[in-house]
Symmetry: C2
Subunit: 683 residues, 2 copies
């Protein structure tokens, strides 16, 4: 049974692409066309189309705190809204692809562009019935992934491996850009209904959110994505009465799945629009409103987790506010008629400024507890250089650089002499996926564990030379010294040479299990993440009121990352994520045909922001250390994308007084809203 | 300066082989021809040609025990001889070759056919000035090596890496068979002068040996090979007066180096010829003579090492003697005149039987002490299968099979579910070379170390379930049981699944340092090897006295291997080694031109025995366990080759009464000796 346009129905393996295309074109599939449903709201009540269970709902998560009705009763002002976000394509550099090489009768090595080699290993092992030790997966250079190469490569590799198994030849399977956009997962389109109440003096009293994620024809990662939607829906605020209901609904569209932010950009758009609107209703500066409500150290989140450390939320707001000149720039939004009037007077370009304050649960949630472990391997070379291996992947986020720094620091060797081995499932045990901004933090912890063992081995070897007990030694810069008196310096490079000369053990494995997490979905409360990153975005835009075109001028992006082990890669993450967030908020939208097929199937019809569209992005690094992270670092790689969209729409409102209930804020959509508002306000 | 014909003088890197050949042919080298020396005896005294130092002697090793002159004075009979052996080519399946792939500005990955990836890693690092962590060497499937891919690939890879470094492109460098035979190392030709004395009742009193190895234009592994020549020269006998002087001498031939047996086949040919001759002089059955003199448990070797365990020498002789029917077959050699007479009577094919008894120092000698360590990595997979990695290589000897068996046995998992990862220098630390029959024993020990750690982790996880202390648990077959009462069985496969489910550490490194060894070359005594393998070869031949052609009919090869972990691969080693030993003793000879170039440069002019030349080979496995080896196993992979040549020449003598002082025993050489003997015996 075929559930969506683009679903694979057969594979053809041939000696050349041309042969394969010819053979594939000879396949005739006769379809009996059945009725289909594309809208998740329709799907939830559909009398006859059942894609998943009775109601097409494949997952439900909730937050419940206090009494939300009483909260609204206590409120002096209430705002309500319904928000929609669209499917976003990952637009990684190279499309999905892999090469499967069979060896012997039950061994297969797969090379490919991917985030999660251990997922691929499990999939290939299961599909072919090979032992896990017979399947080796090696990640090749991956030009971005953004969630699009989380679970999808398991399918790609599974098909290639099946072909290789049957033909006993290496099989290469590479999607064209069109095939990739048409058939692989994208960001879930969402419908979010939100109701927010606050007192006259600007304190939130209640938040109610209903979330519907359209997860397409197969649930895939829908339930996991929905979890994060549900947990981030009420934002980083102190609210005592909360009710969030989240549902993932199957439809006859291409499956939707993981994408940087993982279900949170959709809900944060709604959340931060609501905050802006309620502040306006109270005639308050929206940043001042946030200052009154944002979480501080010792507060409890809307889902019941006390955050008593590493809470840089307010600091990000303070820094972004200062750097952006918010106080002098912000003034209440104009009336649209005046805008048009002004435009007629000669200036059709109006400026506005908008903000958003968001948070991010670092690492895998409690629903991914089983995957929350990481391995590492570290080997000291005879010339004092170091080789290491981890199970998480470098996908452009800079993990390799940061982990190399960690190893260098832990062992006291030069960064330039530390090298990461290719990611290969036979080098370290299953270390879970490279998702949820977990690589630096958790592979970092595993590396620290391995390095600690090597330090002990090193100290044992040199202790007699220094004349101290091994337990008294420590690494200080590039030297081993006695921690009692800082005496007896031996260069680490010499110590490593001694270890080799004396034939000591020079390798170690590291292992880390993330701190425990839990979430009780029945009561809607728990401790779903180990810690949180925090962020304030402030965006300045210029809107052309005659065309609806918006030009993003400046983005101030303040992020509490715990500790920036490499400030340059942190800034790179902020810049890249902000631009991808602009894609989500301002540019990108997958367009579907009436039969549910993807129309915008390449990069000339699916428009992403280019360097020419890039605004000035000002990264602001806030460091509120998380004790359990390496040097205090918290993962944050997804966060830069997450809060951009509402900052943009809030800035558009601030510029021209027009609210958007849907992103991306394309010129067409903005223009339509301007026209609507004009009609509404004209007599 | 060019020292030998075939020495590389330039490298050409091009986009195709054809381009490279054209470019190379455009290079004109103008040589000033200098005088050359090819004979090592001439080279030692040469007044003007100095290839190495003043006397061209690049290495000297000795054995000294007792008073050899007094030993000869005590002797009733003395025999003396001068023996010569020729250069032997390894004739591995694929010629030398590798691919060097540059990554970044100081990273290089080398793939190639080789024995010793860590040697290649060091060479490439040194040549390019890259950190050791920047150089990764991965062994590709290697179709035999036999010592020919011990040090040579360092040069091959060094040149390829240099090309890759300069061009910033991957460079493939593959020798043709002709280039390979002409330019790479071979077995050292040797000249051995031996003098042996014995009492009238058949006890050895003194052995004096002078060895000259021709090591060619560069010493390379000459000194290491010479060490083994020196230590094996007096054979596995009880002799109290010994003097062995060994010299490696440089000449203007292609460099000679490592080859299965590593300098011992040359000296064992001489040793076992001497034993046969002295037995004859005493009118004794040569096997009976050996029985009187061979080392037994508790005896001391000629170099002063007491062997008080794992001495299966006599057992190999007993078993080979029985299986071959020696007692009924052996009779004193005929007089050559009678032979010819017999031939004229109709039978020109005469049969004879010969024996040799030899020993082999297992693993690296004390001169390789620094290299005597091995690493391992073992990873338990979620389905109970196991992946492991070691630093020694599979080169056709069956190491992968045997090590997989060790891992399976140590952990209690199915052999079929254990897989070895490709050998890659970034997976385990420098584990020394794959030489000296050390892989099974020493990588086996490192794997045992890693498996022991994993067993502890496993026992800790399941102890609460069994209701015993972890320290009381053990593996029994495929189960974990309490060692007290053999109760509480939990399948190992379940235990591994539990480890994964509970996110326990599932990988470990292993490390092994070989037991200590030493040798004092000043006094010529020591403990040069950790233990010894022992072997008796008995060979039956048929000699055509009209042509000098010999046909090897049967080979009985009894080897004390400590423990045959895999009897089939042990038999395979015995069969392959015996045939290669026949190559050395009967067929193979590199022919040099007058200017020192190799004339027999391909497999139609350099003749090796094929399957059609293979005699019946009867492997006989003797197991005298070495406590420190895995399950008692001792390395022995080289031994099957080592004693074949003298067994063949002794059998030829037994058939036709003609002694050979030189191998291979080609028809031409045998015929020449027959003619000489005839001339000598005719009036």
């Amino acid at each position: 049974m075929v559930f969506h346009v683009g679903q694979p129905v057969a594979i053809v393996v041939a000696r050349s692409v041309r042969e394969a295309e010819l053979a594939a074109s000879a396949i005739r599939v006769e379809y009996e066309v059945l009725p289909a449903v594309f809208d998740p709201v329709e799907a939830m009540d559909h009398p006859s189309i059942h894609i998943f269970g009775e109601d097409n709902v494949c997952s439900h998560w909730q937050q419940k705190k206090g009494d939300v009705e009483r909260g609204f009763a206590d409120a002096d002002v209430i705002v309500e809204g319904e928000y929609r976000t669209r499917a976003q394509e990952h637009s990684y550099i190279e499309p999905q692809g892999c090469i499967a090489v069979p060896l012997g009768f039950d061994e297969m090595t797969v090379y490919g562009s991917m985030q999660c080699p251990f997922y691929v290993k499990r999939a290939v092992s299961e599909i072919l019935g090979y032992p896990m030790s017979g399947v080796t997966v090696i990640q090749t250079t991956t030009g971005g992934a953004f969630g699009g190469k989380e679970d999808q490569p398991s399918q790609i590799a599974g098909l290639a491996a099946l072909g290789a198994h049957l033909t006993k030849r290496p099989v290469k399977y590479l999607l064209s850009r069109e095939e990739d956009i048409e058939t692989t997962s994208k960001r879930h389109p969402a419908i979010v209904r939100a109701k927010t109440g606050a007192t006259a003096d600007g304190l939130l009293t209640a938040v109610k959110v209903d979330i519907i994620l359209n997860t397409g024809a197969f649930s895939t990662l829908g339930p996991a994505v929905l979890y994060r939607s549900a947990l981030h829906a009420a934002g980083p605020y102190r609210v005592h009465n909360v009710n969030v209901q989240a549902h993932a609904v199957t439809t006859n569209l291409v499956p939707f799945g993981a994408f940087r932010g993982f279900g949170s950009p959709q809900v944060l758009f709604a959340c931060e629009e609501q905050i802006d609107r309620i502040a306006e209703k109270l005639n308050m500066d929206p940043v001042e409103f946030r200052e009154r409500n944002l979480i501080r150290e010792g507060d409890v989140t809307t889902f019941g987790q006390r955050v008593d450390h590493s809470v840089g939320m307010m600091e990000t707001l303070k820094r972004a506010k200062e750097r952006s000149g918010w106080t002098t720039k912000w003034k209440p939004a104009p009336n649209i008629s005046l805008v048009i009037e002004g435009s007629r007077k000669g200036s059709h370009l109006w400026r506005g400024i908008g903000a958003s304050t968001i948070f991010y649960g670092v690492g895998l949630s409690s629903s991914g507890e089983q995957e929350s472990r990481t391995g590492a391997y570290v080997q000291l070379e005879s010339d004092g250089s170091v080789t290491f291996a981890v199970g998480t992947t470098e996908i452009g986020q800079g993990m390799m650089t940061v982990l190399s720094q960690i190893v260098a620091a832990e062992l006291g060797v030069d960064y330039e002499r530390v090298r990461m081995a290719p990611v290969d499932t036979s080098r370290v045990p299953d270390s879970g996926p490279t998702v949820a901004s977990r690589s630096t933090t958790f592979s970092g912890r595993a590396l620290q564990d391995a390095c600690k063992k090597l330090r002990s081995l090193m100290f044992e070897k040199v202790a007699p030379r220094i004349g101290s007990a091994a337990s008294e030694l420590k690494i200080e810069g590039k030297f081993i010294v006695c921690s009692k008196d800082n005496e007896g310096k031996i260069p680490v490079a010499d110590a490593i040479k001694i270890m080799h000369e004396e034939r000591g053990q020079v390798s170690a494995v590291g292992w880390d299990v993330a701190p425990p997490k839990f979430y009780d979905n029945e009561i809607g409360q728990g401790k779903p993440y180990v810690t949180y990153a925090w962020c304030t975005n402030i965006v300045e835009v210029e809107v052309d009121v005659e065309t609806g075109t918006t030009e993003i001028k400046d983005v101030w992006a303040a992020h509490d990352v715990g500790k920036a082990i490499n400030p340059q890669t942190v800034e790179g993450q902020i810049e890249g994520g902000s631009l991808q967030g602009l894609g989500f908020g301002r540019y990108e939208e997958i367009v579907f045909s009436p039969d549910g097929g993807v129309l915008s199937n390449n990069l000339s019809t699916y428009v992403i922001p280019t360097t020419l569209d890039a605004p000035n992005i000002y990264p602001i690094i806030v460091e509120s250390p998380w004790e359990e992270g390496p040097y205090g670092a918290k993962g944050f790689g997804e966060q830069p994308l997450m809060g951009i969209a509402p900052a943009v729409t809030n800035a558009i409102y601030n510029a021209i007084g027009v609210r958007l209930n849907e992103v991306p804020a394309t010129p067409k959509r903005v223009w339509k809203e301007i026209q609507g508002k004009m009609r509404g306000s004209s007599p």
